[in-house]
Subunit: 267 residues, 2 copies
């Protein structure tokens, strides 16, 4: 039994889709969430910059005495996971590995698509992780840079969103994939539009669900689970003003955000 919190971080708000899954699968654990809203987004930044930011945040979370760190950001998982695993004394899990393994399990034809930010796609991290589990898999990756701003604008069902989804996804339909990994934590909010464009023959893999399941396993393996009677406490830290995070974040989390604090990493 270990009552220390699980640390979760993202460049901003998107990682809350992972938190929602963690709260669902681990209702008795305490969580500390860190959203780097002053420097969001990471998707168009260089690997070096993303690694530097990730190290700063991991340091902050370790200062909060977390027992595990979940990198709930695809771009940071793609660029910084190994770096953090080497540097941190606690287990560190990202969203790329769990999403990739879930895709490898789901596919029947071995033809898998992955969508994400420019940074995540350029890293090739998903293709590598999928091929590690399914060496014969045919993997097509596609960056969809407009999906995040569309989600943040709240245009989840707008005609422009459908048009843009077709532009990005029609080439994946042409590739006859049977499984599509939503390789960005914002994309589950576009599940309906993405599903409509891809059609019923394509399974959508949400990395958030897959990641939460892996976190449960890791905690069990290492005897780090909290008391089953525990009363989970959530604490949220952001680097920019908290108002917008509170408002948009509750949409991602599916409930109100209570303990929320703004901190400055550069001081």
């Amino acid at each position: 039994m270990n009552p220390r919190p699980i640390g979760v971080f993202d460049s901003g708000i998107g990682g809350l889709t992972v938190v929602r899954e963690l709260l669902h699968q681990l209702p008795h654990e305490s969580l500390v969430y860190f959203g780097d809203t002053a420097r969001v987004p990471y998707g168009n930044k260089s690997p070096e910059t993303v690694r530097r930011y990730s190290r700063e945040i991991a340091g902050y979370l370790l200062g909060q005495d977390v027992k595990m760190i979940v990198v709930a950001c695809n771009t940071a998982s793609a660029h910084a996971l190994e770096d953090l695993q080497r540097a941190c004394a606690v287990p560190v899990e990202g969203v790329v590995g769990p999403g990739a393994r879930a895709a490898a399990r789901h596919t029947r034809t071995g033809r898998i698509g992955v969508i994400g930010t420019a940074g995540t796609m350029a890293s090739g991290a998903y293709a590598r992780a999928i091929r590690a589990g399914a060496p014969e898999a045919y993997v097509v990756e596609r960056a969809c840079p407009l999906f995040v701003p569309l989600v943040e604008e709240g245009w989840l069902d707008h005609p422009a969103t459908k048009l843009i989804a077709h532009e990005y996804l029609d080439p994946l339909t042409d590739e006859r994939i049977d499984t599509l990994v939503l390789g960005c934590t914002h994309y589950p909010l576009l599940r309906k539009v993405i599903g409509a464009v891809m059609g019923p023959g394509v399974t959508l893999v949400d990395s958030a669900e897959a990641t939460a399941a892996v976190v449960v396993e890791r905690l069990q393996e290492r005897g780090l689970l909290g008391a089953p009677s525990g009363n989970g406490i959530d604490h949220f830290f952001v680097t920019d003003s908290s108002d917008r995070f509170r408002e948009v974040g509750s949409r991602f989390l599916g409930r109100e955000i209570e303990r929320l604090e703004q901190v400055d990493l550069t001081e």
Copy 2:
């Protein structure tokens, strides 16, 4: 005669539309450009965070011995201009005032529209600046958060861009404005689509042009112009990896970027 460079900064790439105008109107001046590409965009960040980042950059530019600072970012101009004018020993000019004055000069009916990022629009800075010059003006402001990612995606003429432009701009047509301020340095690249939606009866005001003209005036007033035979040198600094800046930036600048360096403000 003053051979010191003019300092120009922006959250990222957009400010290069201002640089292009400065190079055009002041071909003999030296320029130092600072793009905060590691923390871009500013448009969705809080006033406090934007002020903090702007102060850091102004400090860096003063360290480069600039004779004047041009805040070539609408969001930073809206939130941080007065703060910087108080803190800096050199003249500081933003893009909001020149754009607003140009709109007040151009309007015949007194009905003016302004478009920009969520942060710039929420600040109300354009409406205040326009009314300072034209107290009777009717000003309508509209945030267009998807325009920046569309420009960065290079979709300057895509059907989705037209659809989104209609969604954002049709309410301004309904308001019967005769002048529209492009209150974001990215928007001049969408001039064609925006012009098509607004129709020929609406004058588009590009703050970049207006700002460069004001910079010339300020330097003249204070005897800070460089030698008319001067051989302008440009030096560009960015906070994230320079490759993408070089590539996309040359589209904004209309020519190659030569002296480009990555720096870290937090060290």
